[in-house]
């Protein structure tokens, strides 16, 4: 009996205008978005590869440790074609430096900061908006409509339980809704594989399967919502309006209101707190370094000369401008005194920034709680976590960058660059080679070279670049985050089951006449 009911429902739904509309709308919108976003991904990917090559090449030419300033890049994820998420407009590049702990990445591969104000349009958006609307449209009249036409009475004249009828209707509507969803999803996969030529790895296939699954579950939630409304009210037009009202509330109103209200109830501390600290601590540290340097130079008996350096050249020539060994010695002292202090300042700033970051996390969590009943929010979280475009992935990247910097500093410290071997940090010559005469001679050469307008990098001889082992390797791959995705997917499934149960209870006491 279940099979009969199910196949009857499916056949009826397949013949409706709604089904055709759903099929065409979903297919066209998804194909369009996938074609455009696939191109966009390829562009970002090539940009990323170019940047990574560029900086790898620059890093290979560094021959003085003080000039090591690696650039780390956040790779785009191929799954971002399906869910652009929040991270497209966040930065992708982190410059690692000794005096700054990375808080936010700079630059983004799309590079239009103004587009943050425009919501994106990807497969996820289509699932949230279009699939939810059709889920409701497929089911709003399944019970009330049949009652109006008197079919329900006829069905119950057969030996069939209400449970069977209800489940058959729910399953049929969900299955029919799954057709456009699955077809357009498969079509988008075909477009990506054959038109764009993008391949996926093993975990990505799992993520894709889970995306499809969560899309189907989300559709089922709205089908269940529609059937529940249909069982609750007597007329199908009222059922439709009621379910569209619930849909507008859950999908459109709640996420927007949750964002706004979280800002109203949990306001953030002003940014100027950080700016002020950055400014104040800089002048403090600068003063302290100068004072300590004067004391130290006096103690060591080094004459305090003008240590003005020349910009835009390599580390070796920093002190050549003065052309004397005393200036070099002074510079070494400056390194010994300033490095630990500026590094501590960097940590202090990061601690302050981190408290802001955590406050923002609390605000975002509050917003998530406010929109807990919205299936749209859960689908969004599942998709972005699977695609690696959620904020957590960005946070992981920043954390990896921070750890990388610590590792780099540790290796510098182990080599004594900030104390006993500070001279090595700014020069690759042997310590006893650094005499005033030699540098005077090199200074002359330097000026000649400048006058001939030749490039100044590595100008004195062709020194070998630093061994690559000096710089720790950085690896960061965007991977699907199954653990984070599991929670929203299970909440969505639970929602579908709960709504189904509610609808069933309403159906049990429904008067079929």
């Amino acid at each position: 009996m279940f099979y009969h009911l199910f196949s009857k429902e499916v056949r009826e739904l397949l013949m409706t205008f709604r089904f055709g509309a759903a099929l065409i709308t979903t297919f066209v919108l998804i194909a369009l978005s996938v074609i455009v976003l696939g191109d966009d991904y390829l562009r970002r990917r090539s940009e990323y590869n170019r940047l990574a090559d560029l900086y790898a090449q620059e890093a290979a030419e560094v021959y003085v440790p003080s000039l090591i300033s690696p650039q780390l890049h956040r790779p785009p994820s191929p799954l971002s074609i399906f869910a652009e998420g929040d991270t497209k407009h966040l930065g992708n590049t982190v410059g690692i430096s000794r005096w700054q702990v990375p808080v936010h990445a700079a630059g983004s591969l799309t590079d239009n900061m103004l587009l943050k104000a425009y919501p994106s349009f990807d497969l996820m958006t289509v699932f949230i908006l279009v699939v939810s609307v059709f889920g409701v449209l497929f089911s709003y009249d399944s019970l009330s409509g049949e009652r109006e036409r008197g079919i329900l009475k006829q069905i119950f004249s057969n030996p069939v339980s209400r449970g069977t009828v209800y489940v058959a209707k729910f399953a049929a509507a969900s299955a029919v809704l799954a057709i456009p969803v699955a077809i357009s999803f498969l079509a988008s996969l075909l477009i990506i594989s054959f038109y764009h030529g993008i391949g996926f790895t093993g975990p990505m296939w799992t993520a894709l399967a889970l995306m499809l699954f969560s899309g189907l579950v989300c559709g089922a939630v709205f089908v269940a919502l529609g059937i529940a409304c249909s069982a609750l009210v007597r007329r199908s037009s009222v059922a439709l309006v009621l379910s569209l009202f619930l849909l507008a509330t859950l999908v459109l109103f709640m996420p927007s209101a949750a964002n706004g209200l979280s800002g109203y109830f949990i306001p953030l501390k002003p940014r100027s707190e950080v700016d002020m600290f950055v400014e104040k601590s800089l002048s403090e540290v600068r003063e302290e370094v100068n004072r300590r340097l004067a004391e130290e130079l006096q103690r060591l008996g080094i004459a305090r000369g003008d240590s003005s350096m020349i910009g835009n050249t390599s580390g070796e020539s920093l002190y050549l401008f003065d052309g004397n060994a005393a200036a070099f010695a002074q510079y070494v002292q400056r390194v010994i005194i300033s490095e630990p202090r500026y590094q501590k300042r960097a940590d202090d700033i990061w601690n302050l920034e981190h408290s802001h970051w955590e406050a923002k996390t609390r605000q975002a969590e509050f917003s998530a709680v406010l929109s807990l009943v919205s299936p749209a929010g859960h689908l969004r979280r599942a998709f972005t976590a699977l695609a690696g475009t959620d904020f957590e992935t960005y946070g992981k990247f920043m954390e990896a960058a921070r750890l990388f910097r610590q590792q780099l500093l540790r290796s510098f410290r182990a080599r004594g660059y900030f104390d006993r071997n500070a001279w090595e940090f700014i020069s690759r010559r042997k310590k006893d080679e650094i005499t005033e005469e030699k540098y005077r001679a090199r200074g002359v050469k330097y000026i000649e070279r400048m006058q001939r307008r030749e490039p100044l990098t590595n100008w004195e001889g062709n020194w070998d670049p630093l061994p690559t082992s000096m710089i720790p390797t950085f690896r960061f791959e965007v991977e699907p985050d199954f653990e984070t995705a599991l929670q929203p997917i299970s909440i969505l499934s639970l929602m579908a089951i709960l709504l189904c149960l509610c609808g069933f209870l309403a159906f049990l006491r429904m008067d079929v006449r």
Binding site: L29, M113, V133, G260, P267
Partner: protein
């Protein structure tokens, strides 16, 4: 006709489906009032704090003209009290510029925004009207004609001496009044909340902007209403009409703005940041080739030979930097404007960008602020030249790298604090909060769309078979 309209209003207001949706719209307007009064106060606080800091720093540096005009001020854009009408992504857009007499740096976002929140459409009037109220419009009017046929009342109605024109106008005006009553009530609630929370100064400009916004909203809702009547008079059963309308609504609300963004992103290519820095380097190198080399050295003596060349060098280099970044930003603005323009296809997109133009938020507000900051920098530069000219001891080498590394290149005499140009004067005179410009283009477009849809709806009704 009047009777039909009156009947329509009476039925509309009692209708359960109207009450559901109207309740949602009302709640949305109330939440809107609270959200934007809160965010306005926060933004205002930040703006005033930055202003106080600038005043303090200017006072501290007023002992020397060199220090005053080298000082990098942080110019924070004053918050628009009208962002509750059209937010325009104000939380995401840059709102803070670093500027002194010689250059301004790329704008940053120093608002208390949270990048960890998912990017969703902000709950402003343009969203509530364009998305929620347009759905309300469709829900109350989709069975205006076909529903009466289903119930059999249409034949009854037409048996009276009413022309189809009267029937059409009666339906249209009746339903429109229901919508306008809802809109007026809800907007009044939202405005009341904002005023009582002290987040809306009621000046003539603000009132005029709100008036224009409401007019645009009426036209937008009227368009959806006419569309709904047209579809309702084309189909036999109301349910099919509703399905068509809902699809049209999704296209208008989500697909058109989304597609507009995709088209704009594909057609306008923005140079990447590293490309801009490369360009700056290349052009600087080319410029250096044409200049005597020794002029670039600086031995601390501003009266030395060749210092004019150095001034010229710095001036040109700053000009190169500024030009390259400006080009990038204006290209970005062009891209964003293209999105706005392409979404004119949908009435929702149209009123969204029209409301942003009226309220000077979003891209229009950003572009205007960019221009103002540029103008302020010119003012400061002219001021520096004028004051420096009065100082006989100055080397008159008015340039800087922007960080004041070269001391004593122009006057270091104290400056009268009150004569320094302030950016607040520009904010005030430009009326950044509310635009005086009327969005004629968008009004005309919407009115034309309304007219066309009205003709279509009327002809559809004329040849409708009431049996």
């Amino acid at each position: 006709m009047i009777n039909i309209a009156r009947n329509q209003i009476r039925m509309g207001l009692k209708d359960a489906k109207f009450l559901f949706m109207a309740m949602l719209v009302l709640i949305a307007f109330v939440v809107n009032g609270f959200i934007y009064s809160g965010s306005y106060h926060i933004a205002r606080e930040d703006y005033e704090r930055s202003q106080r800091k600038t005043e303090q720093d200017l006072e501290a540096s007023s002992s020397s003209l060199l220090d005053v005009t080298n000082y990098m001020q942080t110019a924070v854009r004053p918050p628009s009290p009208l962002s509750f009408i059209a937010d325009g992504g104000s939380a995401q857009l840059p709102n803070s510029w670093q500027v002194n007499a010689f250059m301004y740096r790329n704008p940053e976002n120093k608002a208390r925004s949270n990048e960890q929140l998912p990017i969703v459409i902000p709950l402003d009037w343009s969203f509530i009207i364009g998305t929620l109220m347009s759905l309300l419009t469709i829900l109350i009017s989709y069975e205006a004609v076909s529903g009466e046929k289903r119930d059999g009342t249409l034949r009854l109605l037409l048996s009276n001496p009413v022309s189809r024109m009267q029937l059409f106008l009666g339906k249209y005006l009746g339903l429109l009044s229901v919508l306008l009553i809802t809109l007026a009530t809800c907007a009044a609630v939202s405005i009341t909340i904002l005023i009582t929370q002290g987040a809306l100064p009621l000046t003539a400009d603000v009132a005029a902007s709100i008036g224009w916004a409401l007019l645009l909203a009426c036209l937008c809702l009227s368009f959806f209403l006419l569309l709904s009547i047209a579809v309702s008079s084309l189909v036999v059963t109301p349910a099919i009409g509703l399905v068509i309308l809902i699809i049209a609504w999704i296209l208008a609300v989500a697909a058109v703005p989304g597609a507009a963004r995709m088209v704009a992103e594909q057609s306008v290519k923005i140079p990447a940041i590293y490309e801009v820095t490369r360009e700056i380097e290349a052009r600087t190198e080319a410029m250096q080739r044409g200049m005597p080399l020794n002029s670039l050295n600086w031995d601390g003596n501003p009266f030395a030979e060749g210092m004019r060349n150095r001034t010229e060098y710095c001036r040109r280099r700053i000009a190169i930097i500024e030009e390259a970044w400006d080009k990038m930003i204006y290209e970005q603005i062009r891209q964003a404007r293209l999105i706005n323009f392409l979404s004119y296809v949908s009435p929702t997109g149209l009123i969204n960008s029209a409301l942003q133009d009226i309220c000077e938020t979003g891209i229009s507000g950003f572009e205007k602020t960019m221009d103002l900051v540029g103008r302020y920098q010119d003012q400061l530069h002219d001021f520096t030249l004028a004051v420096d000219k009065l100082d006989a001891e100055s080397p008159h080498l008015v340039y800087t790298w922007g960080d004041g590394t070269d001391p004593g290149v122009y006057s270091t005499k104290p400056v009268d604090l009150s004569t320094i140009p302030r950016i607040q004067a520009l904010w005030r005179s430009s009326g950044l909060s509310a635009s005086q410009a009327v969005p004629w283009l968008q009004l005309i477009l919407l009115a034309a769309a309304n007219l066309q849809m009205a003709v279509m709806a009327f002809f559809a009704l004329l040849r409708y078979d009431p049996r």
